[in-house]
Structure formats: C-alpha cells, structure tokens
C-alpha cells in the first residue's frame, strides 16, 4: 500500500513535530470520533472540540494567509499536517466556514466583515452552513428562488434551502438569494450572511440513507437581515458563489483520504474476517486503484504547487473533484467486498465517540457499510459529477 511520498526528507522534522502534538492533544474519545467518521463530518461535538484545540495551538486554519490567523506553512507542510491528522484519526470539524466562507470573506469582504466573522470561524465558536441548493434548484443552481427584498437597512428573506449540511448545529448560514428577478438568472443573485438565530428561520433535519442526520432543509419566512451582511456587491453573488465552489471542490487533498482508505484496506486484508484474500482479481483491482490514487496525488500536487496560499484552482478543481470522489467510491466498494457479510449490521449507537461496548459487525467493518452508502453522495454534492464534466468540457476543452 506504499503510494510513494513526493515529500523531501527535510520535512521529517516538521512531520515529527506535528505527530508529537497529535499524540498529546488527541484524547481516546477524539480518536474514536475520528475512527468512526462515516462521511465528511465527524461527531459534531468532537469536531468542535478539536477545532478549538487546533486554534489554541495556532493551527486553526493552516490554509489561510498568515495575516488572518494562518500558519505560514508552505504547500508541503500543509499537506503533511492534513495527512498526519488523518492518519492519527483526528476528528473532522464542520469545515464550511474555514474551507469555503473564509477565503470568500478575504477576497470579497469589507474590513469590518473580516474583523467580525473571521475570528469566530477559525476558533470554531461560530459554525457555518451553506445555503445554496433549493428543492427546485440543484444542478441548475442559478434558477434559485429564495428572495431578498430591500426594506430600509435590511433585506427581507423568503424561501427555502435544502441539503444544508449540519444546519441543525450551525450558528450562521451563507446564502445565495435572488435580489433581482428582472435580469438573467445569474445576474440577479446576491450572497448574504444570515444569523441562524434570526426569527423566521426553521430547520428540518433529514435522515440520510446510512441512518445518520446531517442534511437539513432550512425555511426562511420574512427573515430580517441587515444589508451590512451582504458579501460582495449586490447582484454579484454568482461570482462569489462560483469562486467558493471551486474552493469546495479543490480545497481539500482528496489523496489523503484515499490513502487512508487504502491503508484501511491493507488492515482489512490482513484480518481473518477478510472475504477476498484468496481472490487474485481482487488484489489486481486494489493495485490498480492504488495507481490511480498515485496519479491523482501527483495531479493535486502539480495544481497546488502552482498556486500561492489563498488562490483558487479554477476549472481544474472540477477535474480533481471528479477523480477524487469517484476514486473514493471505488475504494469504498473494495472495502465493502473485503468486509462481506460482516458489514451488514447497522448499529448507529456504535458511531458515538463515547461508545465502548461490543459491536455486531466485525470490529474492522463497523463503519464500512455506512462509508460505502455515504460515498454515493460525494458525486452529487458540491456540484454533481455531471456538472463537473460539463465545466471541464466548456472551460478546459473549450467545447
């Protein structure tokens, strides 16, 4: 499972320092939360606690520029940091604020908006969710119908947002709203920052296919939002939205998670419960997947190597998103085959970080089925694989 590391050896000292920190800072419960993560989100409280620990160490947002609380690490150091966190089973905090909104505030925000919102994001004290999709506007995002109308110094917001991950835990939501119905759809959208505690907002959580609750629908009824909460110019929200989606799609190192899945595979293949050790075709498929992961890793490094901190990778983020998510699905398929019958139990209580009891599933396949089920959503959220391919066709190939 040795996807070759492209990092030079002088990073060893940095890696050792990160490891030392993780060994000290990660409690058994936080590690369990990391181990039992079945989607992009870990147990919410564990994630929040971990973000606060990272922030206290000064590592709350390594990808941010130094002036906003970033670390000043170079691209390799940031990669090592993420990799070590993942390998040590650190939980994943809700990242919509840090990964998506933060960079937008830095690009488009006024000085007072930056001052007001960035500190709460990096400390984890303000959790943000993303209000983009609507029931009738998924892939066709620009057709969104939630409206914001001027009323004195406020906007009055009406409508609904769907697939708002973790809205039931969030303090704030960043939202795309329609501020002009008379122009072409993309030209009449604005980007609003809305306090979830504002009267008129209700949240309806959904049970996902794996039995967990992460997704919500958010309803807005005459919600009063100060015009000072507009990010960027009025009716220029589409520019902000597109830029943010590129961060969402390209902002993570997919290969770190993929390599983690491959090492789980290695662990499972050495376990007595593995159903496929005698199957030579399986080993070939694992090896081919490993090679594809190596190809994506080099691609990520090639793209990110040409960017400086805070930049955005443009349409190439679509390439990375399609490859990363589809490879993740392939790894999840291999894992489910290796787990076989031992992955059929579904015990949601086992996923709680405080759970220390026995499990009906084999211990190495407790999360395998949920991860496989959840992997199907990765080619839908953040712009479907179909939309990504259309972006590549149009903006990269010029078709």
């Amino acid at each position: 499972m040795n996807a070759s590391s492209p990092l030079p050896t002088d990073s060893d000292a940095f890696r050792a320092a990160v490891r030392d920190f993780l060994r000290e800072a990660l409690t058994p419960e936080l590690i369990r939360a990391g181990e039992r993560t079945t989607s992009v989100f870990s147990d919410f409280e564990a994630g929040r606690q971990w973000q606060s620990i990272l922030h206290q160490r000064g590592w709350g947002a390594p990808d941010w520029p130094l002036e906003y609380g970033g670390t000043g690490w170079d691209i390799q150091q940031r990669y090592i940091f993420q990799e070590e966190c993942r390998q040590a089973n650190a939980p994943t905090p809700v990242m919509m604020g840090i990964q998506m909104l933060g960079p937008m505030l830095m690009h488009f925000g006024t000085p007072s908006q930056k001052e007001r919102f960035l500190p709460g994001i990096i400390s984890g004290s303000n959790v943000w969710c993303q209000g983009y999709s609507e029931p009738g506007s998924g892939s066709d995002l620009a057709s969104l119908k939630t409206t914001a109308e001027h009323d004195g110094d406020d906007f009055i917001v009406n409508g609904t947002k769907i697939w708002t991950s973790m809205a039931h835990y969030s303090d704030w939501i960043f939202c795309l709203v329609r501020t002009d119905k008379t122009v072409k759809p993309q030209a009449g959208i604005s980007f609003l920052l809305i306090d979830m505690a504002t009267p008129g907002i209700t949240v309806k959580p959904f049970t996902s296919l794996d039995g967990e609750v992460e997704q919500c629908q958010v309803f807005f009824e005459d919600v009063r939002v100060p015009t000072a909460n507009l990010l960027g110019q009025e009716n220029q929200g589409w520019t902000v939205a597109k830029s943010l989606l590129e961060f969402e799609r390209g902002g993570q190192h997919f290969t770190i998670d993929l390599k983690k899945q491959l090492s789980k595979m290695q662990h499972m293949m050495s376990s007595e419960t593995c159903r496929v050790t005698a199957d030579p075709t399986f080993a070939y498929r694992v090896a081919e997947t490993q090679i594809d992961v190596m190809a994506l890793e080099q691609t990520e490094l090639r793209i990110k190597g040409s960017l400086t901190a805070g930049d955005n990778p443009g349409a190439l983020s679509s390439l990375v998103k399609v490859s990363g998510t589809e490879l993740g699905q392939r790894c999840a398929e291999l894992l489910i085959e290796a787990a076989g019958q031992s992955a059929i139990p579904w015990q949601s209580e086992v996923l709680a970080p405080s759970y220390e009891g026995s499990t009906a599933a084999a211990s190495e396949s407790v999360t395998t089925m949920a991860e496989y089920i959840n992997s199907r959503a990765t080619t839908i959220y953040g712009g479907t694989a179909e939309i990504q391919r259309s972006i590549i066709a149009k903006h990269v190939l010029g078709l």
Binding site: S133, T207, D279, Q341, I344, Q347, I373, R376, A377
Partner: protein, 362 residues
C-alpha cells in the same frame, strides 16, 4: 412464462402492491419488526411457504423458476420478511432430510421459520465451518459461533452448518433453546440479523443431515441461494430503473426535464440493457436447475456474478441520476441500493461465485 407462472406472478404482485407501504416499512424497521405476523400468515395461506415441497407433504411441488418469481417481487417491493431465506433452506436442506419430514407441516403453516446459519469470521467457514458437533455419552454437543445471519432476527429456528468430525452436519436449533445465546440487530437492508453462540446438547432428531448428504445439501443450498439472490437483485434493479425513469421525466432543471438530456438518456438505456441481460441469465439459471441440467451450477454462478455487478451499477446510477433526494432515507431508491448491496455477499459473494465459475470451466 407458463400460464401457471403468470397467474402466480399476478397474484403475488397484487398482494404485495396492496400490502406494501414504504413509510410503514421504515417505521416497522425502526421498531425492529422485520417479519410482520399478518403478512407472514398471508404468505402461508397463499401457499408460498409450501412451494418447494412435494404434494405428498401437502406441498405445491413448484420449481426454482416459480420460487424465483417471488424472489424477484421481494426485490421490487423491498420485502423484509424472511421469504427467500426460508425457501432456500426448505428447498435444499429440509427437502433432503428424513428427520425434517415431521417439521414440514409447521414450515408450511409459517410457525417454524428455519434460517441457515453458516457464516463465521473466516471466509473459509462458509464451506468448512469451525463450529463443531461432537458426540457425547448421552448424544451430541454443538459448540461454536455463527455471525451476521441475514434475517436471523426473524428466525424461530437456526439450521446450523457444523463440522461433525466425520464430515459436515446440518443441525436444527430452536432460537429459544437453552445454551444458545442470540443477539439480534438491525441491518442496513432492513432484514434484521443475528449473531449466535451455540453451546448446547443436541439429540439425534435435531441432526437433519450428516456426512455426504450434508455436503450435498450445502452445495444445493449455495446454488439455490445464488439464483434466488440473483432474482431478488433483478427485481430491485428493475424497480430502481423504473423509479429513475419516472423521476427524470418529472424533474426539471435548466428549463427541461432531466430525461431530455441525451447524456442521461444513454445512461438509462445502459441500465436497461444490463437489467434485461441479467434477467435472461437469471431465468436460464432457474430453468437449468429445474431441468437438472449438467450446466446448472455454471448458470447459477453466472447469474450470481452478473446480477451482483449489474445490481450494484444500476442502483448506484439510480441514486446518481436522482441526485440529492436519493441520499435520504425518506426516498425509496436508496433502499434498493442497500438491499442489493447486502445480497451481493449473502451466502456466496460475487467473488466467490466468479472463482467457482472459473474452476468449473477449467
């Protein structure tokens, strides 16, 4: 289909359509009800539980082709009741056992729900169990663990595959027997499972088959389970495709129905091609078994491999073409995906069937 088969299909389809409610199914699973007593009783009254038995036992003497009709409908209607599980055991293990003759009336009436317990932690256990049946002064003793028994939560009895020291044995154990500790749990596909620890005395009457007869029954059970899981997967895949076609005709994005985009039309056309070719192989496997053709084992394995690959692909595509809505538990299409995933590995995985297919052809 023959006239008799068409009639069976129509009756079963009508019953399941009228008595299946998706939201009710979710509520019952949440309450750990996997086998609704009225439904199970109705299955018995319609003769479904009597299908494999000969007329001399008050059975219907139906073949695998007829049983597969029920399996296909189980896939379409997401039946959680242990129908294919019990029919696979009845058609193979119980049918071969003289000692089981006395039990058959209870099986047909639905009172005795016998589920096979074969899986143990190691992959090899499916063919050579480490669960032991050993002779004692007064009789026998069964010792060992069986895990991840699909539909195990609905069983009244387990039919346990064990090593007797003198070949394999199939042993009947009541779920409430002293010396059996049984933990039941929910499963992702809604069938409800069980993990069992056996440590109990066994009398002669409980030993259904032993030695060569037990080995033959295991081979027959596996082959039957391969074909029935293929048929259920087929039913689920077809239903996922139908749901997707309906949805994409209604759902509009960019000012037109999703179904009007050529890229998506082609994907649904592929789903159809794959489902129909799977259907041919599943029906051929049933006919080969019913004719006792020398090819029967080869066809069963082919159907298993094909249906597992197609069931996975078609239900994954169904989710993808729906988009976000299919990732919620409140929408039906993901449940076809979850059931098909569980069927992939039930009794014999796709990988196991593929290797056996290659060995047969070698």
């Amino acid at each position: 289909m023959t006239e008799e088969q068409t009639m069976l299909w129509d009756t079963a389809d009508r019953y399941l359509r009228e008595n299946t409610d998706f939201n009710q199914r979710r509520d019952q699973i949440a309450e750990a009800i996997y086998n609704q007593p009225q439904k199970w009783q109705a299955f018995a009254e319609m003769g479904w539980l009597a299908m494999p038995f000969p007329e001399s036992m008050d059975g219907l003497n139906f073949g695998l082709r007829e049983i597969a009709i029920l399996a296909e409908l189980c896939g379409q209607y997401l039946v959680t009741e242990p129908l294919i599980d019990t029919l696979a055991v009845a058609s193979t293990v119980l049918m071969r056992s003289e000692r089981a003759t006395a039990l058959v009336p209870d099986v047909i009436s639905g009172e005795l729900i016998a589920i096979a317990a074969i899986d143990e932690p190691t992959a090899e256990s499916r063919l050579s169990p480490s669960c032991t049946l050993s002779q004692t002064e007064s009789g026998w003793h069964l010792q060992g663990k069986k895990y991840w028994i699909s539909a195990g939560a609905s069983a009244t009895h387990f039919v346990v595959l064990a090593d007797s020291g003198n070949g394999l044995a199939w042993v009947l154990v009541a779920k409430n027997a002293e010396g059996l500790s049984c933990e039941t749990f929910p499963t992702h596909d809604g069938k409800g499972g069980a993990n069992c620890h056996f440590d109990l005395p066994i009398n002669d009457d409980q030993i259904l088959l032993m030695g060569d007869a037990a080995a033959e029954a295991l081979a027959a059970f596996r082959e039957c389970a391969m074909t029935l899981s293929s048929a259920e997967t087929l039913g689920a895949a077809q239903a996922a495709l139908d749901t997707t076609v309906d949805y994409t005709k209604q759902r509009e994005q960019f000012g037109q129905p999703l179904a009007s985009f050529q890229a998506l039309q082609h994907r649904m056309a592929n789903m159809l091609i794959q489902t129909e070719t799977t259907r041919s192989l599943v029906y051929a496997a049933c006919d080969a078994a019913d004719r006792d053709s020398p090819d029967r084992g080869r066809f069963a394995r082919a159907a298993k491999v094909k249906s597992a690959a197609v069931g996975r692909k078609v239900t994954q595509e169904a989710i993808q073409l729906h988009g976000g809505i299919a990732t919620t538990d409140e929408y039906i299409v993901g449940h076809f995906f979850k059931r098909v995933t569980a069927l992939e590995t039930w009794v014999c995985s796709k990988g196991e069937a593929l290797q056996e297919f290659m060995a047969l052809d070698a």
